[in-house]
Symmetry: C2
Subunit: 171 residues, 2 copies
């Protein structure tokens, strides 16, 4: 099965992001808006027990933290993903590092960690440029706190179900 680890931001921020995803993100219906902490990786159902106890350990040693969104950016020309940039922070970076740490299933990260909330993807070049140019005019200055992350698995139809929540700083 395919697993992934994410942060769901506040309902308010999810609603805001969805108002764009609805038009610009074909994955809109597959998963709520999220910050990916560990990209999709393969595992057997029999790995879940070891993995979740590992994730409990990791959650316990991190504390709730705040993150800040500052602007709309794009991964173009790597790919046509338009996103809200989450400003990198010690808290996010060490959490991400731990989720790829020793003994963790899922191998090495494919890309450098660029925390973000996707608002559009799989756009044609023309559409990408158009949408990106208009969204860049948005004034973004949002800060919020998170105290949890979620382990998800993917269903056959491509959608994601939550397996378990992990509370930061909790035993």
């Amino acid at each position: 099965m395919k697993l992934g680890i994410v942060i769901f931001p506040s309902k308010k921020l999810q609603d805001f992001v969805n108002s764009y995803r609805k038009r610009y993100d074909p994955h809109y219906a597959l998963v709520p808006p999220h910050i990916t902490l560990k990209s999709a990786f393969d595992a057997d159902e029999s790995d879940l027990k070891t993995l979740t106890s590992k994730l409990e350990e990791i959650a316990k040693k991190h504390q709730p933290f705040s993150f800040h969104l500052s602007k709309v950016k794009t991964f173009h020309p790597l790919n046509n993903v338009i996103y809200l940039k989450v400003d990198p922070s010690e808290a996010l970076t060490t959490l991400n590092k731990d989720l790829y740490g020793e003994g963790m299933i899922g191998g090495e990260p494919e890309y450098a960690f660029v925390p973000h909330l996707t608002i559009g993807q799989k756009l044609s070049n023309l559409e990408h440029d158009d949408v990106y140019n208009s969204l860049q005019m948005l004034a973004i200055d949002h800060e919020e706190t998170t105290d949890r992350f979620h382990l998800l698995y993917q269903l056959e139809n491509g959608s994601w179900t939550v397996y378990e929540t992990f509370l930061l700083g909790k035993g």
Copy 2:
């Protein structure tokens, strides 16, 4: 905000149910297949702390349990929901009762508790009869175990995000 409490069955069962929901359930993209333990209820974000500590208590005093699916049924003529019947059990009934127990937010249940997995809804009468008749021929005899339930909240677009997982029998 609107909250709900559900069990997500195994990935295998979710995939099976989705193969029908895809065609017959307009809520297909809004939430993964689930057994509702407590129907949608209103709460403020400020209620979440009290609610989750209450749910922790409830989860702790219940143990993982197995449930059995025996047949395709319908709520017609009450409404045109076609579902996989989850055979009632002591475990399910007491869990449901506790989630509506004293001090729990959300008021009284609107209907008697009929544990089920929806496979189709909002069908016209004609379509309902047609689909129900053909699905009744399915041989269903499935048993599986669950060890958790999830608290969800609804976004503006009608989709549901998981707030927290509660592990049965865990502290």
